[in-house]
């Protein structure tokens, strides 16, 4: 211990405590905006993250292509040559088709939901943490993103909410995160409840719909939407469908386990709703 203090250990401890206090204080004062240290690192690392993301996706694509190539070679002996060539062409076109489809879907969504304003963003990283479910995206306050903005996939299915905004990056808390709480609605019966993440369900990629009226009717397969009752979020965004109905450990109330409609494990591009009309 003496050695520790002789080697400036006490000074290190004091610096650590002071920095901790400064970071905690600035985090509290900044509200939803990332604190300066986090924001600076985010600004610097966003291009790196984009690059790494591109490299990883390229590697995955090559690996998948190589894997499918060997499959095709095996098939080649059994199938006609023309068929194999068509398969190859199809594979090459697949990437373009997927992007086209995403854009067409978004166009359709924009037509259907004219009251919503979208900002497209790329998912650059998945948060390396078992205690939260979050994604980092490539746009931030530069593009008008704000804390609490809803994030959807190209079909308009809810992915999550913007939780922390940097200058050119943002963190999206997904709908299965245990800190999430927002109004939900069962589409078939118009029954309102509270959508909330839960630790028990987060690992399975699910969430729950709680605080449902005592005599409400709901069953597996019912579609769940955002209620928009608070005015904080748009209404009628598809959250998912009810998988099962469970009773609370207290035995007093029931809640529904909801499976998200958006595929949270395989998101490449998302759309942030930056503005919407409040429905009274």
């Amino acid at each position: 211990m003496k050695d520790f203090f002789r080697n400036n250990g006490g000074l290190i401890l004091i610096i650590a405590v002071l920095l901790g206090c400064i970071i905690a204080l600035t985090s509290a004062l900044m509200g939803g905006f990332a604190h300066p240290l986090s924001n600076l690192v985010g600004i610097i690392t966003t291009p790196v993250r984009n690059g790494i993301n591109a490299v990883v996706e390229w590697t995955e694509a090559r690996y998948e292509a190589a894997f499918r190539q060997s499959e095709l070679e095996a098939d080649y002996e059994q199938l006609k040559k023309d068929y194999a060539e068509l398969e190859k062409e199809l594979r090459e076109a697949q990437s373009d088709a997927e992007e086209n489809e995403r854009l067409r879907n978004l166009l359709g969504l924009k037509e259907k939901r004219r009251e919503l304003q979208f900002e497209a963003a790329t998912v650059t990283a998945v948060v390396a943490d078992n205690w939260d479910s979050a994604l980092t995206i490539s746009k931030g306050s530069d593009f008008g993103l704000e804390q609490g903005d809803c994030v959807v996939d190209e079909y308009g299915n809810l992915v999550g909410l913007i939780d922390q905004v940097g200058t050119n990056w943002s963190t999206v808390m997904t709908i299965v995160d245990s800190d999430l709480e927002m109004g939900g609605l069962i589409a078939r019966t118009d029954t309102a409840g509270i959508l909330e993440g839960s630790f028990e369900l987060m690992g399975q990629g699910k969430l729950r719909l709680s605080y449902l009226p005592e005599n409400s009717e709901f069953m597996a397969g019912d579609q769940v939407l955002t209620s928009g009752l608070s005015g904080l979020y748009p209404s009628d965004l598809v959250v998912g469908y009810i998988e099962e109905v469970r009773t609370d450990p207290s035995g007093m109330t029931r809640y529904a386990v909801v499976v998200p409609e958006a595929d949270l494990s395989d998101l490449q591009q998302v759309f942030v709703i930056t503005n919407f009309d409040i429905v009274e």
Binding site: D3, L19, I52, V56, A128, S178, F199, Q204
Partner: protein
């Protein structure tokens, strides 16, 4: 130890931290094992503290704490203090109680990850309606899966430790 030696040594340690951070945040976070992602940055603090002792461990912990605060989600200033204390504690423990070898590193890693998860579980228990069982399941998986990477992280920093001049060791 001259100022030059000091800067070179910790510069090399910082460089050695980069592949660990890259592996954790960009590779292992994308491909969770049964839904669990390992935590490698605390293992790096423990490995350096085992090799360099309390002062070196605390200093490196301070640096890693700052990096973690910037890149991890939902970490406040407490993470800086915690990482510094983990570096200090590991250094003292392996200097005076355990041994400064891989086994000491493994034990201290398990202990540090446990402490880290306790600091995550307690606030959630106090402020949220979360089940302790579900959180212990996450913590247990996280600790075990992270410990699998201890040999790799320890080997990286041992490699650095053996290559920096002996006079720079604390």
């Amino acid at each position: 130890m001259t100022r030059h030696d000091f800067l070179v040594k910790w510069g090399v340690y910082a460089l050695a931290l980069l592949p660990v951070w890259f592996l954790e945040c960009y590779i292992l976070a994308r491909y969770p094992f049964y839904g669990i992602k390992p935590m490698l940055l605390p293992l790096a603090v423990v490995a350096v503290a085992v090799l360099e002792g309390a002062s070196g461990g605390a200093g490196f912990g301070l640096g890693v704490g700052l990096l973690g605060t910037a890149v991890y989600y939902h970490t406040g200033g407490g993470f800086v203090v915690l990482m510094t204390l983990l570096g200090l504690g590991t250094g003292l423990l392996t200097q005076y109680v355990l041994r400064q070898d891989f086994l000491g590193c493994l034990l201290c890693s398990a202990l540090s990850l446990g402490i880290l998860d306790v600091t995550r579980i307690l606030p959630r228990l106090l402020y949220q309606r979360e089940s302790l069982e579900a959180m212990l399941r996450v913590a247990g998986g996280e600790i075990l899966w992270s410990l699998v990477f201890t040999p790799l992280v320890y080997a990286i920093f041992l490699w650095v430790f053996r290559r920096v001049p002996k006079r720079t060791h604390f």
